[in-house]
Amino acid sequence: MKIEGQAWKFGDDIDTDAIIPARYLNTTDPALLAAHCMEDADPLFSTEVKPGDIIVAGKNFGCGSSREHAPIAIKGTGVGCVIAQSFARIFYRNAFNMGLPILECPEAAEAIQTGDRVEVDLDRGTIFNHSRQQKYQAHPVPPFMQELIKAGGLMAYVDEQLRKTAELPTD
């Protein structure tokens, strides 16, 4: 799977309150959440971001709360992928569970700047920066996570496991 878009660069320790402030958590609607995505970090982001665009950030992206609204909001904006130096652990799990592609790549996180044209090959974990003519290799996705993605996310994986053990009627 390939994603191409414009990069939006953020700093270190972008917390879930920055991604989607708690004051908007009285809904689970992706479109409503997307309208406030990154609002407190960059008020223009949600109106100017385009489908396929890519968020690039420093270390510990998604730290703070466990709210799955964070990856839902990002996905809701049409952002195709988040590249960071590193991710906070709950956000990392949530992103996979929600089907938001994320890549850990310190080199890309450092080199890419806002406005760069970036292309991501998710299967290979390669990132190409058209604006700077640079190529970066992301950390490989752990095999178990790949299995989750192949199954179609955690719920599909659970469903598959359940059917195998026949704990759930297959209707």
């Binding site: 708690a22 709950i90 009627p169 209707d171």
Partner: protein
């Protein structure tokens, strides 16, 4: 026998294995799972979409409306209704209406529902609070909660452990909050990312349960998966009359392997304050310049326990909140509320012209019950001071222990309790 840490032992037991090592992928049985009014609606939706009919055990799933409860607006009321209807349909034993509820991480230990040796997952990042009981407890997202509600299981990558040794003797007014703020200040908000933090040493061994909960609660603020403390006599005293089912004490082996060890003498440690906008931005209260404030909040899953209210009352007794300050006291559960009332703490708070609220997470996450305007500053006993956390994007939150918060309320700027005592 392989040497293991307490976290590894609990995970091995729940995975049905004789041992586990860091980075192993395991599937663990879950003793207890929880969600709140923000996270559970997404989990319930995923549960329904999956076609599952029943939760794995209606006695081991708790749904707790605490964040935007009492219903702060129509949208929040609708979310809580989702929890209520699901709880009825699934015959969940542990759904708490206003009047019976409390802030989840104060409520569940108090009710004896989460216990030493447990694996607990919660769709709330502060689920790590129960590490104070010697449980492996960690926050997850809503989809992970949905999967666990169906299967009673969850997959984990076994975290490496980091040991934090606290030596010496605590100064007056220095408690669990100060120890954990100091720790986060030293290692940073990703200093324990994906790791198990283990708190040990003579200071921890002498630390009351309430302070232990505060420390474990904020392990997530260093990025950790769990903040665990080996259970002992203090733990036993706390759980023996509360426990609703059997529990088990685990301890790390003497030769267990740690990724790193921090060893600190905290005898000279002063009460600590985390400045905006990060819990790692920590300074001793004695080194702060004059910082005027508009609001004080004493409460939350971090510091809303009875001991915290007693500490605030000790400082506020016979005094008045500064004229330009609003002081909110939020007991974390109904039981704490009632105990505080019986002990006369409300008399002290009300005479001091502080407001006392029914239990809620409320202002901690900028939900309701004390939202900040642009340019306003709060001292709060809560756990996060991110941009906009308690309200307007141009407001500021300073994190402290309850005594510092109470002293600051009286003086109108951030103050050491000694200034008013």
């Amino acid at each position: 026998m392989t040497s293991m840490t307490i976290s590894e032992k609990i995970l091995a037991k729940h995975a049905g294995q004789s041992s586990v090592r860091p980075d192993d992928l395991i599937e663990a049985n879950v003793d207890f799972a929880l969600g709140n009014d923000i996270t559970a609606p997404i989990a319930i939706e995923a549960f329904r979409r999956s076609g599952a009919k029943r939760v794995f055990d209606p006695e081991r799933v708790a749904l707790i409306p605490d964040h935007f409860a009492p219903n702060k607006d129509i949208a929040s009321a609708m979310q809580i209704k989702v929890l209520r209807e699901f709880s009825r349909e699934q015959h969940l034993l542990h759904f708490y209406e206003v009047g019976r509820m409390g802030v989840e991480h104060a409520l569940l230990p108090e009710q004896g529902l989460v216990l030493p040796g447990d694996v607990v997952i919660g769709a709330d990042s502060h689920t790590c609070t129960y590490g104070a009981l010697g449980a492996f407890a960690t926050g997850v997202g809503s989809t992970d909660l949905a999967a666990a509600m169906i299967t009673g299981k969850i997959w984990f990558k076994v975290p490496a452990s980091i040991k934090f040794v606290f030596r010496g003797k605590r100064k007056p007014w220095v408690g669990g909050k100060d120890l954990i703020l100091y720790t986060i200040g030293r290692i940073g908000v990703d200093g324990a990312r994906y790791k198990a933090m283990e708190f040990v040493g003579e200071v921890i061994e002498a630390l009351p349960m309430a302070d232990r909960f505060t420390m474990s609660n904020m392990a997530i603020e260093a990025g950790a998966k769990v903040g665990i403390i080996a259970p002992d006599g203090i733990t036993e005293d706390y759980v023996k009359e509360r426990a609703k089912r059997p529990y088990e004490f685990y301890r790390s082996d003497e030769d267990a392997v740690y990724e790193s060890v921090y060893d600190w003498d905290v005898s000279e440690l002063e009460p600590m304050v985390a400045l905006p906008h990060s819990p790692q931005n920590v300074k001793p209260v004695t080194e702060l310049p004059e910082i005027e404030i508009d609001q004080v909040v004493v409460g939350s899953c971090t510091n809303g326990r009875l001991e915290d209210l007693r500490q605030a009352a000790e400082v506020l007794k016979g005094k008045k909140v500064a004229p330009n300050v609003r002081c909110m006291i939020i007991p974390a559960t109904q039981w704490i509320y009632q105990q505080a009332m019986r002990e006369g703490l409300f008399e002290i708070f009300l005479n001091a012209e502080a407001a006392v609220s029914t239990p809620t997470c409320g202002p901690c996450l900028g939900g309701h019950m004390g939202i900040l305007a642009a340019g306003e500053r709060a001292v709060a006993t809560t756990n996060r001071n991110f941009v906009g956390r308690m309200g307007h994007v141009e407001s500021e939150v300073y994190l402290s222990n309850p005594a510092v918060a109470a002293a600051s309320a009286i003086v109108g700027r951030i103050a050491h309790p000694d200034e008013v005592m």
